[in-house]
């Protein structure tokens, strides 16, 4: 594959989009209020869309442009909408009351994770150096932050957000490295993610029905201790 030659404004835009991506991810960790988190998550999806858009613009690729629309629709529209619906059905709890690790510690962890992501990603950047690949560390950092959210958040919806952060990060990494991994796979992945979220949404509803709560900390029925 030919290295992508990118114009300086496009590169700058790409940087902005990537920065937004990281910022929104950090904000998700920062905030506790679920509606706010969902709004930030929407922004995150839009930032991802923007990132793909910049890439499409930089490469003058119509195909990628179409993908951009798809990404914006799914990541910025459909998924946040699904989440909002799930939150609406998730009962009165609207705040991440007591995360497994408190917010301050989480933020410090985020800092460490970002550092880790950046240092891990050095070979990724070095291989085929370009403005796009230079943003890959951000994508990796978003993945790790998403994982952190998954590990530390108790509310079903926040865990879903964490899962989607991971997914967004991977998508971003995919586009930043090689502009996608083949259409069939791409669509398959998107479908899988969507279905997974749907399944989780249904399950979240069942959790509320059977446990009467949406606190994942309550899920201790199956254990050996």
């Amino acid at each position: 594959m030919e290295p992508v030659v990118m114009s300086p404004p496009a590169a700058a835009l790409l940087d902005v989009a990537a920065g937004a991506l990281l910022l929104t991810a950090v904000l998700v960790v920062w905030r506790r209020d679920l509606p706010t988190i969902l709004r930030i998550f929407t922004a995150h999806g839009l930032a991802l869309g923007a990132l793909v858009g910049v890439l499409a613009w930089a490469q003058r690729s119509v195909e990628l442009g179409l993908v951009t629309i798809g990404v914006l629709a799914v990541r910025g529209g459909l998924l946040p909408w699904l989440l909002r619906r799930a939150l609406a059905g998730a009962g009165p709890a609207r705040r991440e009351v007591r995360p497994v690790v408190n917010v301050t510690a989480s933020l410090l962890a985020v800092a460490a994770l970002v550092l880790l992501a950046f240092s891990v990603s050095v070979p990724l950047v070095e291989l085929g150096e370009s403005p796009a690949t230079r943003a890959v560390p951000v994508a990796v950092a978003v993945v790790l932050i998403g994982l952190l959210v998954l590990v530390t958040r108790r509310h079903t919806i926040s865990q879903l957000v964490g899962f989607l952060l991971v997914d967004n990060g991977i998508t971003a990494a995919g586009f930043l490295t090689t502009s996608g991994i083949g259409l069939v796979v791409e669509v398959g992945v998107a479908l899988d993610v969507l279905l997974a979220v749907l399944v989780l949404q249904v399950l979240a509803g069942r959790i509320r029905d059977t446990f009467g709560d949406v606190d994942l900390g309550e899920l201790r029925e199956l254990r050996d201790r």
Binding site: M1, V120, V122, P123, L124, E126, L127, G128, V140, V143, L147, L150, T156, Q159, F163, V166, D167, G169, I170, A173, G174, T177, T178, I181, G182, V184, V185, G188, V189, L191, D192, L195, A196, V199, L200, L203, A204, R206, I207, T210, F211, L216, L219, E221, L222, D224
Partner: protein
């Protein structure tokens, strides 16, 4: 064979279950049962045909699918285990429906989902493209999620949530790995390989892949597919899911799904070995193997639930597979493949047995089940033999495969594999002791007093008995002679050790 015939054959393992799934949605229970068995038989027959063809003529690529010895072998595994599950399922479902624990509509949905699950696994083993493989593996999660959560009890819902979250997260890591691998492939020296994530192309291109990127990719892939394969550290969904799913589904999940995911790791390993040398993946796999075994041992020692016991035993066996794969080489890889088949058969028998025990006693706690040999001789004998087979006793094929893994580890170059094998064997002994203790408590001793035990019929339902006997017999025969499968396994092992 002509190309269209081949294409039809290659698509059949996907199409037949898919059609059966559709059929189950409309058919009656009896028809669905017959269709299930027919579907498994078809998969098995097609696998045999493909296997013969591949052994004779090498791998073929057709219709976006790639049939090589490994995929043919994995199809055999899928078909064989599906057969056991399919024979046993109707009686299990009937008993559940009779007991009022299962609505008929849910039973029907179970038929649909199980066959969709089979189709997804068939895609996973036949996919030419690693991306498609990934999509299929993730699809199995989605399909089985509702099978796990079918009971709608607190436990079932909880298990389903954990299952989906942990597996999806793990598999997402694998996706990131694929993305990075794609990145590395894209920057491979021109002319060395194919395109994108096509496995054969990647294998050809592997020596030219950037080691730095490939390392990260491989770590993520092993971790990710390892989660789905039940390897530590992302193993924890497994006992919950397997203990909550209906017994035939547990049999399929434990017997095949784990193995299918593991075959993905095997495929990744081919690329990684070529790109990074054998040491890197070996270290990862040996580590995963030992941690998995240690986890299994720790949790089996004081286990209180027999379904979970079987689940942890699956983790143990996945650890053994990882051990064998980590040791590498044709002999160990062949052993790993045989182990996959043997474990699939025996574990499905064990889960079918456990399902029956649960139906009879109404509990899955070990200490509430007593004197099964006295009350249920057939069931107890089959379950006991299955557990003994799981511990690697002859004549079951697990003995041969474990032996060959150990032999390869101790004969191999470098002491790391040898020591890993010795430590692993120590853990295996602990696991064996724990499982024997728990199983012995359930099976042996005088018949318990009380009305419940006497009321149940002494004999197993015929179909359940046939399923269990067939599974055990197949595993035993495999332990004495693998027949034509030996050839297929040799070819598959050769495929996985760098000669596609």
């Amino acid at each position: 064979m002509t190309t269209p015939t081949l294409a039809a054959l290659a698509i059949a393992p996907i199409a037949v279950p898919a059609l059966t799934a559709a059929g189950c949605a409309v058919a009656g229970r009896r028809t669905a049962a017959a269709a299930g068995i027919g579907c498994a038989a078809a998969v098995l027959a097609v696998a045999a045909g493909l296997g013969a063809h591949v052994v004779a003529g090498g791998p073929v690529e057709v219709a976006g699918l790639r049939v090589d010895a490994l995929s043919a072998f994995m199809l055999v595994v899928i078909g064989a285990v599906a057969m056991v599950a399919a024979i046993a399922a109707p009686a299990h479902v009937a008993a559940e429906v009779d007991a009022g624990r299962l609505a008929p509509s849910t039973a029907r949905r179970q038929g649909v989902l199980v066959h969709a699950f089979l189709a997804a696994m068939a895609i996973a083993v036949l996919a030419a493209d690693l991306g498609v493989l990934w999509v299929a593996v993730e699809a199995t999660t989605i399909v089985t999620a509702f099978l796990v959560g079918q009971g709608r009890t607190r436990g079932a819902v909880e298990a389903a949530w954990k299952y989906v979250v942990i597996c999806s997260t793990g598999i997402a890591l694998a996706l990131l790995g694929l993305v990075l691998l794609n990145h590395a492939a894209a920057h491979a020296p021109p002319g060395t390989g194919g395109h994108g994530l096509d496995w054969a192309g990647l294998v050809t291109a592997a020596p030219g892949l950037d080691p730095g990127v490939t390392r990260i990719a491989v770590v993520l892939l092993v971790l990710g597919f390892g989660a789905k394969a039940g390897l530590a550290p992302l193993h924890a969904w497994l006992p919950d899911a397997h203990s909550q799913a209906p017994a035939p589904v547990s049999a399929l999940m434990s017997g095949v799904l784990l193995a299918v995911s593991f075959s993905a790791i095997l495929r990744v390993k081919v690329i990684a070995d070529a790109a990074l040398g054998p040491g890197f993946v070996r270290a990862l796999l040996l580590g995963a193997a030992l941690v998995s075994l240690a986890v299994a041992a720790s949790l089996l020692l004081a286990q209180r639930d027999y379904k979970r016991m079987l689940a942890y035993s699956s983790i143990e066996h996945m650890g053994l597979l990882a051990l064998g794969a980590g040791i590498g080489g044709a002999a160990a890889t062949a052993a790993v493949l045989l182990h996959v088949l043997g474990h699939g058969l025996v574990k499905s028998v064990a889960f079918v047995g456990a399902g029956r025990i649960a139906q009879l006693t109404g509990t899955s706690r070990i200490d509430r089940v007593r004197g099964l040999v006295a009350t249920q001789p057939g069931l107890a004998a089959a379950t006991g033999l299955a557990v003994l087979a799981l511990l690697g006793l002859p004549p079951f094929s697990l003995f041969a495969s474990e032996f060959a893994i150990v032999r390869a580890g101790l004969a191999g170059d470098g002491p790391a594999a040898g020591w890993a094998v010795v430590v692993a064997l120590g853990l295996v002994v602990v696991i064996g002791a724990a499982m024997l203790r728990h199983t012995g408590r359930m099976l042996l001793g005088p018949a318990p007093d009380g009305p419940g035990a006497a009321a149940a019929p002494r004999r197993l339902p015929r179909s359940t008995a046939v399923a269990m006997a067939a599974g055990l017999l197949a595993a035993a025969v495999l332990g004495v002679t693998a027949g034509p499968l030996a050839e297929l396994i040799t070819h598959a092992a050769r495929t996985l050790t760098g000669a596609p």
